[in-house]
Every structure is written in C-alpha cells, then in structure tokens.
Amino acid sequence: MDITFKDVAFTYQAGSPFASDALTDINLTIHDQAFTAIIGHTGSGKSTLVQHLNALLKPSAGTVTIGERVITPETDNKNLKPIRQKVGMVFQFPENQLFEETVAKDIAFGPMNFGVSEADALQRATEMVQLVGLDTQYLERSPFDLSGGQMRRVAIAGVLAMKPEVLILDEPTAGLDPVGRREILGMVERLHREQHLTVVLITHLMEDVAAYADQVVVMDRGQVAKTGTPQAVFQDVAWLQSHQLGVPETALFAEKLKQRGFQFEQLPLTEAALAAALAPQLPLTKRGATDE
C-alpha cells in the first residue's frame, strides 16, 4: 500500500490569530514494503507529517492518497477507521496510552475497536506479547506495574495487534537504554523483513537510519529538503551539519580517515561496510617494517 503526498500543506489553527504553518509543498511517496526513515531538526514537521499517514490530521491543501483512499481538506471525519487499522501508529512515549486493568486487555483493545471478537483479540494479545519479547506471564499483570521499557513494549504490541500493513513509529526508542533500543529496533526490522510490513520511522539516531532504512526523508522547516537512500543522503556531511543533522559516527570516522589518505568510493555508513572498505587498503607489509 503506497502512501502518496501531493502538494500537501498543513496549517495549525488555520484562520485564527495563532495560525502557524507546519508543512508546505510536500510531495512524497512512502513505498509499499519499504523502510522509510524521517529525519530532521526538532520542529521541522516530522510528527505533523506522519499524522497525515493515517488521517489523524487532514491536509489544509493538497491530497494524501493512502492505498485506495484519497484524503483531501474536505474529507469527512467519518469512515476513517479502516485507514487507521491498516496504518498503525506508535506515538512518542506510547506507554502513556495504556489504561486497561491487564496487559492482555490493553493489547486486545485496538483489535476489538475494529470488530475483532474478544476471544480472537485475546489470542492476538498472547501472540503479540511474545513478539515484542515479553513472557506470557505478563498478560495478567496491570500495565502500571511494569517498568518503562516493558510498558513501551506493551504499547507497541497493542498497535501490532491491529495487524497493520503500515507501521509508523515516532521515536520509538527515545529514553530507552542501549539494549532496549537495539531490541525494539531489531524487532521492527524483523517484522519488516518477515511480514513485509511497511515501516515509517522518525528518529534522531543516524546510526539507526544507516542500519535499517531503505529510504530517508529529510525534513527542514516544514518542507522535504532531501529524499534518497541513506547512502546518498549521508554523503554530503557538510550539508547535513548545516541543517543541524547528525551523521553516523562511522561516516564521520571514515571522513577523517579520508583526510589521512584512505580512499572510499562512498562514505561507509556501518561498521561492517567500513571494515570491508578498509581491509584491502591496510598496508600490512609496511606495518611489519615499522615494527622493527
């Protein structure tokens, strides 16, 4: 299911004295089964952009096409539910959305809203809780007794239980420790690979972009500044830094090596790629000579 933006603009509180433009002239396609990363400085419109993907916000101008459905500024707020089932959205700090007495009921809440029977929904809860890496014994616990990282997994499980085709994650690893971060992103990557889920990830961590994304969208002041593969986008280190964006550590390190005389066709973005590029260049014989 492709999601296409055509000349989309969005203004908050349009027509009031507090009006502010959040998005202008967005033309963009989120390809089916792709892993898209959206990066940009804080306040560049990333979160506003992704809320258009499941029609939580409607464009002030232009059209958003989500699969078969076309969302225009005139679209009625009714009958948007099918979109929201297909496009699952994990908000920033999703642990704030938990409310049921037990983890099982909370995960089953989403599917039941979309007409899944209670028995089936609870069955899904059992599957999902394991999918996000928690033991089934957690199902009967209250979500408020869990740790922050566990609560976040339950919240993500609640979105996955709706069996979306597109999964949007708005900084899913913010405030997690390195292990939790790797586990959650690893899980997303696995879903993407095994279940062909379309993934849209907002993040400030360029390492994650380099490691997982197929497509990168760079947002700047409500506009799309650049799109392309991570390789293409991360080549221009100076441009990224002028837009207050980071560059993967590996690329920065490679850039320094370049100044010392190493050759790279393209800046490697991951450690594995860097190692592969460096290996043939290392003057092993010369090192032996200096050792004497």
Partner: protein
Amino acid sequence: MQRMNKLIFGRYIPGDSFIHRLDPRGKLLLSFYFIGIIFLAHNWQSYLLLFLFTMFAVLMSRVNLGFFIRGVRPLIWLILFTVILQIFFTRGGHLYWHWGPLVVSQYGLVNGGYIFMRFVLIIFMSTLLTLTTPPLQLSDAIESILKPFKVFHLPVYEIALMISIALRFVPTLMDETEKIMNAQRARGVDFGSGSLSQKMRAIIPLLIPLFVNSFNRAEDLATAMEARGYQGGEGRTKYRVLTWKGQDTLAVAAFAVITGLLIWLR
C-alpha cells in the same frame, strides 16, 4: 483539540502597552471593582459612559478587538437566554405585544438591552485582564491580595503555590490530552460519535492515562522540589517582586472618576 485552542478565555497575549505594564494586583482588583460598579448604571447615559470607558481600555491594550468578540462567543447562548427572559417577562411602560403570560413591553426591551450590555462589558473587562496579564503574575497578585487573610489561618502560600502550579500545567495537560486522544484514535477509538453511553465509554481510555500521568508527574515534581530545598512557604524570598507605580495610581484614579460620574448620572 484544535477546538480547545480556539478558546480565548484565560489566554495571555504578550504585548507592551500601558495596560500590559500595570501592576497585576491593581488590575485584578479593578476588574472586580468594575463588575461592581456596572450595577450602579441604570440609564442609557451611564451605560454609554461605561461602554466608552471599556472600549478605551481595550484600545489602550493594543490587542485585536477580534479576541474580545471571540471571548463573548462561547457565552452568547446564555446571554441571549437571559435577555429573552427579561424581554418576555418584564411588565411596565408602553405595552407593545402580549400573549398569555408573555409580554413585550417598553421596560422589558430596555432591561434586556441593559442586561446584554452588562454581560458584554463584564466579559470584555475580564478578557482584557487575562489577555494582558501573564498567568504567573495573576497568581502572584492573588497571593498578595490574600495575604491579609493569614490572620484567619488561611494557607496563603500554599494556595498561591497550587494556583501557579495548576496554571503552569494547564497547557501541558492540554497537549497531553491531545496526544493521548490521537494515540487512542489511532487504536480505533471514535471520540464524540455514537450514543451517549458510547461517548462516555470512549472517554475512559483518555481519562485513565491522564490521571495516571498526572499522579506520576506530581510525584516527580514533588521530588524535584524537595531536592531543590523546598520546605514550605514560610521564610521564602521572592524572585518576582510586584511594584506599585504611578501609572497604577493613575488607573485607580480613572476608576474613581468613572465611579463619581456614574453616581452623578443616577
């Protein structure tokens, strides 16, 4: 939640006018005083005087008049209801129309007009207060006005602290409400559709997280305050000190003149 953002009531618009610079204590007391003296007016000359005075104050604040009109809008049904009651149930003077207990009389029309003016003037003045005074200044003003009541063991510091914390967290809570609403919408909740009981049930996934988060936030805030050495209100010094200046006396004088004129016009 864009609906909430349209509410003008309680919003502050930064500016640097004569009215903005007035001492918040004076502004708060004068606003109450104004509501009092409105009831002195009972002929068209006095209402005209109050109207001109209010418009003068509004113009001085250099805030767009649209904001004030927007402040009246949420209350328009209440105002119309009261005015219509007045018109249909007041007898006296020239009788224009009657049907059973309903009458339209000269006095009724005049009274209806006065009541309408009263509402509009009160709303304009209170909107002027909130539009030109930052919430924190208002809570400082409330604290210093309440101070005399300490003799009656009123916990003035605690009340002021609660008011300023509450004011500070209103926008935060509104943002959070919006976020949770969106998150639950993404999970298939329809807010504000269906029967009354369905609507009520849809609120639960919003209310419980809001309460839980507020408890957590209160706990964190209390810990952070204690860690910074907060031990209650007694013996604290103040960072924001309110000062009474000449312009504040001038404002009080203007109100005294208006009061005098109102009494003379009676």
